[in-house]
């Protein structure tokens, strides 16, 4: 029987193997948590800090190294009213320095809320992964498509008055599972509903040489293993998703940020001289299928500094139908500029900005305003398996 307190990766994976197989019947009779009811959850998180800094940053977090690039992270979620301590256990895999994986077999809701608290803390150095609809659709091809969640949540961003005046839905939620899911999506996509069919999760059954796993992928980087027989298949799947996302980010950071490097020339004597500045990179163009009726109100709603977007900005009119916002991403203090017309948005990121900011803005536009929003042809990240134009 694998131990509950793993001392290395192999033990942790063996432990997860039992969780996936649901073979914990005889285990944990004297434990407080009934692990057999919980599924394995893997949270992919973008970061720019070291694992050891978590302890310094959050007084309620304890980090202990288990193995190479593997840490046990204990998060005290107790409030003053609680009589007993509520400590949640996560396992942090930091083998990829930029995209960490937090594993947990805690109950779903507390685990999700705890991760949200951690990530949403100002200057945490952590961010969700923000899967655009195009990437979510690509995931459905990685196995047998078995279910989906659609959540269009304009209510979270726009005022009631704006929704009443400009949008047919404040909220649209559909959950579907089973073989008819593809059929349902096709049917709804043919209708004029497409602009509001914002994929929040997809479920697939993936049969690989390692074995079978049934995975639910949420659009913020959470992957829940809902069944199966092989932890290695889950690990491979998490790696696949991480690489797909990392390719998008790399593409955006190579082409979609604006820099002003100083050009240098070398004299015959070998001395280097400045020969002026050049501009490198291009803005990211986001095309909208759902035209914006009121540019100022739309832009102000998106940059009001509130959750979920946490973007702050100040707008100015460039012309009658052309609005510009200079703002700050409150997740990481990156600056950005948005230029908005009725049918497109241009996003300008400085050359030191995080590419994750672009996908957060883009995927949130899809979720809260226009599920059919797409990147312009020239903004599509190069060398990525997944295109964001369609």
């Amino acid at each position: 029987m694998p131990p509950l307190n793993p001392t290395d990766r192999r033990e942790l994976y063996e432990h997860f193997q039992h969780v996936i197989e649901g073979t914990y019947d005889q285990l944990l009779e004297d434990q407080k948590l009934n692990y057999k009811q919980n599924m394995l959850k893997s949270f992919l998180v973008e970061t720019n800090v070291e694992p050891s800094l978590l302890e310094e940053q959050f007084e309620y977090v304890t980090v202990e190294k288990i193995d190479y690039s593997l840490f046990e992270v204990l998060i005290d979620t107790s409030s003053d009213e609680d009589e007993e301590e509520e400590i949640l256990t996560f396992y942090l895999d930091s083998q990829d320095e930029r995209f960490w994986t937090f594993y947990s077999i805690e109950k779903s809701r507390p685990a999700k809320d705890t991760m949200e608290d951690l990530i949403m803390t100002e200057q945490s150095g952590l961010d969700y992964l923000w899967f655009p609809a195009q990437l979510q659709r690509y995931f459905t091809k990685l196995g047998e498509f078995q279910g989906t969640g659609i959540n269009y949540d304009a209510e979270d961003v726009f005022s009631e008055a704006y929704i009443n005046e400009h949008l047919p839905f404040g909220e649209l939620s559909i959950q579907s599972s089973g073989q008819g899911t593809s059929w349902l999506l096709d049917a709804l996509s043919d209708a004029d509903l497409k602009r509001f069919m914002s994929l929040s999760s997809v479920k697939i059954r993936r049969e690989m040489e390692e074995g079978v796993v049934i995975e639910r992928i949420d659009n913020n980087g959470r992957i829940t293993t809902r069944g199966g027989n092989a932890i290695q298949a889950h690990l491979s799947f998490v790696e696949t998703i991480r690489e797909l996302y990392a390719d998008l980010i790399r593409g955006i950071e190579e082409e979609g940020r604006i820099g002003y490097p100083i050009r240098e020339i070398e004299s015959e004597e070998g001395e280097r001289h400045s020969s002026g500045q050049s501009v490198e990179g291009t803005p990211i163009v986001i095309n909208l299928a759902n035209s914006v009726e009121n540019l100022k109100e739309f832009a102000d709603s998106f940059t009001s500094a509130t959750k979920p977007l946490r973007l702050w900005g100040v707008g100015t009119w460039l012309a009658d139908d052309y609005y510009k916002i200079r703002g700050t991403d409150l997740h990481n203090n990156d600056s950005f500029t948005l230029e908005i017309k009725r049918d497109w948005i241009r996003l300008y990121l400085p050359d030191d900005a995080c590419g994750n900011t672009a996908l957060r803005i883009f995927s949130n536009i899809q979720r809260y305003y226009d599920a059919e929003a797409s990147f312009g042809e020239r903004s599509d990240p190069k060398n990525s398996k997944v295109g964001l134009t369609g």
């Binding site: 290395d8 990766r9 192999r10 190479y68 690039s69 083998q95 040489e209 790696e239």
Partner: protein, 130 residues
């Protein structure tokens, strides 16, 4: 009473035996510091699924040996897959197949084991284990 052991089992026993200090059987690998790390793991490295029969690790040498027991047949893709593992030894640690060696310091090799001469049947010249 005579028990029939499959060639696969005999090879497994023999390789494990080479890692034991025992005066009745050669202990060549044991003297070099190799111990049995894991039996029949299955894991994916850079998209290639690998399922060696045995992984032996010499911790002080920071080296692992992946062993695949064969009868007479090799599948073409197996060589490439094991090459992927040799090129990315850190993944053996990060997938839990090898314990106790820092991933960035591990090196690895793979070997086929057979009672037949695989080199006579297959062209293995492009690999340096022949």
């Amino acid at each position: 009473m005579t028990y029939y052991l499959s060639p696969h089992t005999v090879q497994m026993n023999a390789w494990i035996g080479l890692c034991q200090l025992d005066d009745r059987f050669p202990d060549t690998l044991a003297k070099l510091g190799y111990t049995v790390d894991i039996i029949e793991p299955g894991f994916t490295i850079k998209g290639d699924y690998i399922q060696p029969d045995l992984v032996l690790t010499a911790h002080r040498r920071k080296h692992s040996l992946l062993l695949d027991f064969k009868s007479y047949h090799l599948k073409d893709h197996q060589n490439e897959r094991y090459e992927t593992a040799v090129q990315n030894p850190d993944q053996l640690v990060l997938r839990g197949a090898v314990q106790g060696v820092p991933p960035e310091e591990l090196s690895t090799d793979f070997s086929y084991s057979s009672f037949g001469d695989l080199a006579e049947i297959h062209d293995l010249s492009e690999f340096d284990f022949v």
